[in-house]
């Protein structure tokens, strides 16, 4: 995982609530056995016309949003299935930051495991950010994870909360399994006790 640094990027806007993982990465693309290459299919059913050409109506196809690393989205983003292909697709497409009022639990977890910072704002903050993008498509926001701060040209700056553990992992780019295996002795000790307390699980 690449360490998350301070980012300055175009902020793309997706003003829809309850965007579900079936839309983020439609299931016809789940059959791959590798981790990469899902960005090409991100939002496939919305993004492309039946003949495979770009759907000009779809917000992320707007020229002003090309190259965006920040996605500003409506409430309850990422609801639906647990597929991690959704954050893979989002990251592979180029987003490393999402800003919304809320996320589905599993999706939220998966974002951090894949180097994506999912920022939670309240709905009035979100409205302000959306208005700023609408007024100035292609506007660039700066995200400073170290100081938990987002700054915008119109001055709609804010700080955000983030779990310190998640923050540390994003900043260092450290893999979760490596972190857990630091405690392998404790796991082994727990297991030994578990075998005594719940012998039927090991029979």
């Amino acid at each position: 995982m690449d360490p998350y640094k301070k980012h300055d990027s175009i902020a793309a806007l997706m003003n829809r609530n309850n965007v579900d993982t079936d839309q983020i990465i439609p299931k016809q693309f789940l059959k791959k056995v590798e981790r990469s290459g899902f960005g090409a299919h991100l939002f496939h059913d919305w993004r492309f016309n039946d003949d495979g050409s770009d759907n000009a109506e779809f917000e992320l196809n707007k020229p002003a949003f090309k190259g965006a690393h920040i996605l500003v989205a409506g409430d309850n983003f990422g609801c639906g299935s647990s597929r991690e292909h959704a954050p893979w697709a989002i990251a592979d497409y180029g987003f490393n930051t999402i800003i919304s009022t809320s996320y589905a639990d599993i999706f939220y977890n998966n974002c951090f495991k894949n180097g994506i910072l999912a920022i939670i704002v309240d709905s009035s903050q979100l409205d302000t950010l959306m208005a700023e993008i609408n007024a100035n498509e292609g506007v660039r926001f700066t995200v400073d994870l170290e100081n938990q701060q987002v700054t915008t040209p119109a001055g709609n700056d804010f700080t955000f909360e983030i779990d310190p553990f998640r923050k540390g992992n994003l900043l260092s780019g450290l893999d979760d399994i490596g972190l857990t295996l630091k405690h392998v002795d404790k796991i082994t000790a727990y297991e030994a006790q578990h075998k005594q307390t719940y012998p039927w699980l090991w029979a």
Partner: protein, 465 residues
């Protein structure tokens, strides 16, 4: 301190608390299927790590498998690859796999209970959001992502934040034709798809105690549709007698030890929940979803709502776009909505009880003209049991297709799917846009409601049959 069942399971599975980090939780059982695991195995190999406890894993193939002509090679080369890779990974790591040809094969959340692999008080994970199903046994069961699948394989633990607790109490008695599925849908309709976010739900009350184990599985299965991390039902005599004698259930003196532990699990009488929701079972009519989110649901005696009827702007917009996608006009009676395809199956409603109830309704009927009706058992065991009871005959005589097990039209990855504009009555759990095929329109219902719609060609209030 008084504890909820969730807190008891949580406390007994905490391996280590690390300052500033999420606690590590021990995982007793790890369930697997072919779609969310290959990249996890790839990750293990790349980092030179091993599966810590192969006995904790049970794997199946369900999402991509064809439900007919199984003897032929899978036509879709990518699906075929996924199936092959699953078999190789399980072989290489010494894992118990019920492959496509196994008599034990079926949808993961149907197969696992059949073999008694999950018991009360366990922590159970699977790279699949409907893992909550196993909460029916009083196990803390939740869906995880592929990197977590890799994490659990390598460490047998997961860093987890503790959830809040929600008690959903369903009082009274369900009417004859209201099933566990209707309770599940009514709950999502009431609290919304984000209503349970951050919570583990415990279902309680007389109506829940009355449910069979199959019914409890249906109910917990859809906890995720209400946004919850997991759903739980306290174990009781029904749970124990369901488990007794199954392949992976405790035997001999272990059974007594296990029972003592299981009986200690239910929430203490005065345990405190963060949120409490109370429903009256008598108010729950057979449900039909009308939109593209499971919360967009109404009793079969109702009408398609108008966007103006929602005060909340988000819900109004969601209603508008759902109606456009679903091709429905406000105020249409639910019973006037025609269907093109009927699907009975999935990990929500693919168990023997579901086929019994549906067969009771389908018996002596004929599938309406222009309607395709398919029955897809959740496992080969369900299929065989149904055939032993003669249920397959009832469906076939009524004009249904009787298939081999798999996820099938629940998510339409295996070639079984709706075409653009086609409308289904489906016993599955999700009605998202495109879930059953691009442009397909899904209405979620119970098995009895699905069977009645197949015969009539439109939704029917089964209470009037």
């Amino acid at each position: 301190m008084k504890k909820t069942m969730y807190e008891k399971i949580w406390d007994s599975h905490r391996v280590v608390d690390v300052e500033g980090q999420a606690p590590l939780i021990y995982v007793d059982r790890h369930l697997m299927h072919e779609v969310t695991s290959p990249q996890a195995f790839e990750g293990l190999r790349l980092s030179n790590r091993k599966v810590r406890n192969p006995h904790s894993i049970l794997a199946t193939m369900d999402h991509c498998v064809p439900t007919k002509n199984r003897e032929l090679p899978i036509a879709d080369p990518i699906a075929r690859k996924q199936i092959e890779v699953m078999a190789e990974n399980c072989l290489e790591n010494g894992l118990n796999l019920y492959d496509m040809k196994s008599p034990n094969n079926g949808v993961i959340h149907v197969v696992v209970p059949e073999h008694g692999f999950v018991h009360p008080g366990m922590v159970v994970v699977c790279g699949d959001s409907h893992t909550a199903t196993h909460g029916a046994f009083g196990a803390l069961a939740f869906g995880i992502g592929t990197s977590e699948v890799e994490h659990v394989m390598a460490t047998q633990t997961l860093p987890q934040q503790k959830s809040k607790t929600m008690l959903i109490q369903v009082n009274g008695k369900l009417s004859k034709y209201a099933s566990a599925k209707d309770v599940a849908l009514a709950i999502v309709g009431k609290i919304g798809t984000a209503g349970g976010n951050g919570h583990v739900i415990e279902y309680a009350g007389d109506a829940i105690k009355e449910l069979s184990m199959e019914g409890r599985m249906t109910l917990c299965n859809m906890a995720i549709e209400a946004g919850a991390r997991a759903g739980l039902v306290a174990p009781d005599e029904k749970t124990y007698s369901y488990l007794k004698g199954r392949e992976f259930a405790p035997k001999g003196e272990n059974w007594d030890l296990a029972m003592a532990y299981w009986q200690s699990l239910p929430s203490d009488a005065d345990a405190v929940f963060d949120t409490i929701i109370i429903l009256d079972a008598a108010d729950i009519a057979p449900q039909v979803s009308w939109g593209t989110s499971p919360e967009q649901v109404i009793g079969v005696d109702g009408c398609v709502p108008a966007p103006e009827s929602f005060e909340n702007e988000g819900k109004r917009k969601a209603c508008e776009s759902a109606l456009a996608y679903m091709g429905l006009t406000p105020n249409t009676k639910i019973t006037d909505i025609p269907v093109d395809l009927v699907f009975i199956g999935s990990c929500t409603n693919g168990r023997i009880e579901d086929f019994r109830i549906a067969a009771e309704v389908a018996k002596g009927t004929t599938v309406a003209k222009g309607v395709t009706a398919i029955a897809v058992p959740g496992s080969y065991h369900v299929k065989k049991q149904a055939e032993d009871e003669g249920l397959d005959k009832i469906f076939i005589d009524a004009g249904w297709e009787w298939r081999d097990p798999g996820c099938s039209m629940c998510l339409a990855m295996n070639g079984d799917e709706l075409t653009k504009g086609q409308r289904s009555a489906s016993t599955s759990n999700r009605n998202f846009e495109g879930r059953q095929g691009k442009g397909g329109r899904t209405h979620l219902v119970s098995p009895a409601m699905a069977a009645a719609a197949a015969a009539a060609g439109h939704f029917v209030d089964i209470r009037n049959l």
